[in-house]
Each structure stands twice: as structure tokens, then as C-alpha cells.
Amino acid sequence: MSDTKTEKPAPSLGSIFATFLTIGATSVGGGVVAYLRSHLVGKRAWFDDASFLEMLSISQTMPGLNATNMSILAGDRLRGGAGALVATLGMCLPGALLMSAAGAAYGLQADSPATTAALHGIAAAAVGLVLSVLVQIAAKALKTWDDYLFVAVTALAVSGLGLSVPYALIGVGIVAIWWKRPRKRSRPQPDEASP
């Protein structure tokens, strides 16, 4: 492992597992990133803010769940491949056990109309949650009118025309990347170019 900063010894696999298991067991309600930050940057001080944000940016660009991508990247930087493995395991174990138990229990209880009613309410609430997450990621990812256009075309292709996700992803993705392709600019600050 490359130790760029030699001030601190690398944490043991056990403490990496324990930390991610704690996050995996307590991060109820979605915002795993906030829990990750408070443990990895705060309590444990394994990362500074800049490297945390860098890992977050990789996590959000790469396919995969944000929480598991973060576990892989953080675990790898702390302790190589084995670190990535134990971090991901700890992160997923509590939720996976709970949801497997839910899968097993569902067959026994779900026929009751009362359970179905309660779960239906929960599902409606989850739509509200998904929309709020959508607004948050949209606020970060979408900057100019063309970004909104690509969002609309993708959603319309999948939801309106029933195009399957990979075709929409690859088709619109290639056009969008080409649209944003690097160009030779004369202006010194490309970020400031507003529509």
C-alpha cells in the first residue's frame, strides 16, 4: 500500500469492519453519505474532507450503490482489497439480514389486508422520498438547459416509450458525452460560460 501520509498507521481490518458495520446498522432513513462522513472524516479521522469528496465523486459517477461504492473506495485506500471487502461486508450485512428476514416473513403475513394497507401507505411515502432524493441529485448534477433536455429525453424514452434502460443509458449517454466533449476554448474560465 502506498502511504502518502505516514503520520498514522493503517487501521486494522477489524476496526474497518466494525466502523462500517456500525454505519450499516445505524444509517436508517437513507442519508448514508452523512453517516459515512461523520464516521470516516469525523470520529475516526481516517480521511480529510478533500479525499472524502473525491471518493464521493467517484462513487456517484460509477454505476453501483453510493453506499457500497464508498465502502469499496474507502476500504481500499485504508487497507487494500481486503479492506474494501470487509468494509462492504460490514456496510451491507445488517440491511441484508433484515431484508432477507422480511422476504422470509412476508409470505406468512402479507395476505392480511391490514398489513397490505400499511405497506401501501409506506410505498406511497417512499415515492415522496425518491422524489426528494431526485431533486437533490438534480440540483447538483444539472447546470445548463441541455442537461435538463437529456434528463427529459432519458425519462421519456424509458417511461413514455418503454425503451429498456440499457438502450436509453447507452444511446442518450453517448450523445450526452459527445455533446459535452472537450473543445478547444479561447476563454480562460470555461465554467463561467453561461447560456
Binding site: G24, V32, L65, N69, L119, H120, A123, V133
Partner: protein, 175 residues
């Protein structure tokens, strides 16, 4: 054995679609698990997804619920490993070469281009989900109230979600 193979194929494939998060794969998750393989009904899928929002950790651990329904504990394990594995390897590899990618001139184009496409996919997932969950004005009201609450306050989403379940149960019992 065939079930395990099907689970591995379906969740390995879905894994590759989780661009921008698990929700991006939701339309394909619905069509494969409900319409093609008949492992769960659409309401069941919505219930598992919603319960998954209440459970700690990554938000798509509900894939293990489906694996469990189809083939028991081994099914849960196969679904989970296949759903996480392919993207895990990709992220691991990119994490290692990131320093070099950072100065790649196409990096911004890829990040921005895929960024808007992934928002579009998450939107499509939300629409698929809303079509199943928002079945009447009352459910629509719940969705809107939860959305506004989460946008306006810093409340932990678990509370309004649980509250909505309790409310829907109360309304059912009073009918």
C-alpha cells in the same frame, strides 16, 4: 438450481444499470422480477422496496428479499452478490486509477453527460414506482406531504415513512 442461475443473471444484469443509484434500475427490476420471471407481484415489489427504505445501510438491500422468496437464504446471497459484484469490481478498478483519470480530457464530459442521463433514469424509476404506489388521491396526498416535509425540514425520512404506514393502517381499520 435453475432459480439460482436466473437470480444470478437478473441481478447481475440489473447491477450494470445502477447508474446514479439503485433507483435507476427500478424500471428494469420491475419488468424482470414481475413481468418476466413472476417472482413477485408489483405490489409486493413496491412493499419490499419501501421496507428497504426503512432498513439501515445501502438502499437496495431489498434484492435479498426477492432472492429469499425465490430460493431461500442461498437465493438471497446469490441475488446480493450478483447485484453488488460487477459494479464493485468496476468501482474498485476506477478508484485505483482515478489519479490518472483526473487529468483525462474527457472526464468532465463523461461525468456531466452521464450525470444528466442518470438523473433521467432515476426520474424514470420514480415514475414506474409512482404508477404502482399512487393508486388514489389519498396515496398521492401521502407522497406529496412526505416530499414537501423532506424538502422543507431535516427530519429523518424513516419517521414520515413509518407515519404514513400507520396512517394508511388507521384509515383501513376505520373503514
Amino acid at each position: 438450481m435453475k432459480d439460482l442461475g436466473d437470480l444470478a443473471y437478473v441481478f447481475g444484469y440489473l447491477s450494470l444499470l445502477t447508474v446514479g443509484g439503485g433507483m435507476a434500475a427500478f424500471p428494469a427490476l420491475k419488468s424482470l422480477t414481475v413481468d418476466v420471471y413472476h417472482w413477485v407481484t408489483f405490489p409486493e415489489l413496491l412493499h419490499f422496496y419501501s421496507l428497504g427504505q426503512l432498513s439501515p445501510g445501502p438502499n437496495m438491500m431489498m434484492v435479498s428479499s426477492i432472492g429469499m422468496r425465490v430460493a431461500g437464504p442461498l437465493g438471497a446471497l446469490v441475488a446480493l452478490i450478483c447485484f453488488l459484484g460487477p459494479t464493485a469490481l468496476g468501482t474498485f478498478a476506477v478508484g485505483r486509477v482515478w489519479k490518472r483519470l483526473e487529468t483525462w480530457r474527457w472526464r468532465t464530459a463523461v461525468q456531466q453527460g452521464l450525470g444528466s442521463v442518470s438523473v433521467g433514469l432515476v426520474l424514470a424509476g420514480a415514475i414506474t414506482m409512482a404508477r404502482g404506489a399512487v393508486t388514489d388521491p389519498f396515496m398521492g396526498g401521502i407522497a406529496v406531504v412526505v416530499f414537501v416535509l423532506l424538502m422543507r425540514t431535516k427530519i429523518n425520512p424513516a419517521y414520515p415513512i413509518l407515519g404514513s404506514g400507520a396512517l394508511a393502517l388507521a384509515v383501513f381499520l376505520l373503514k
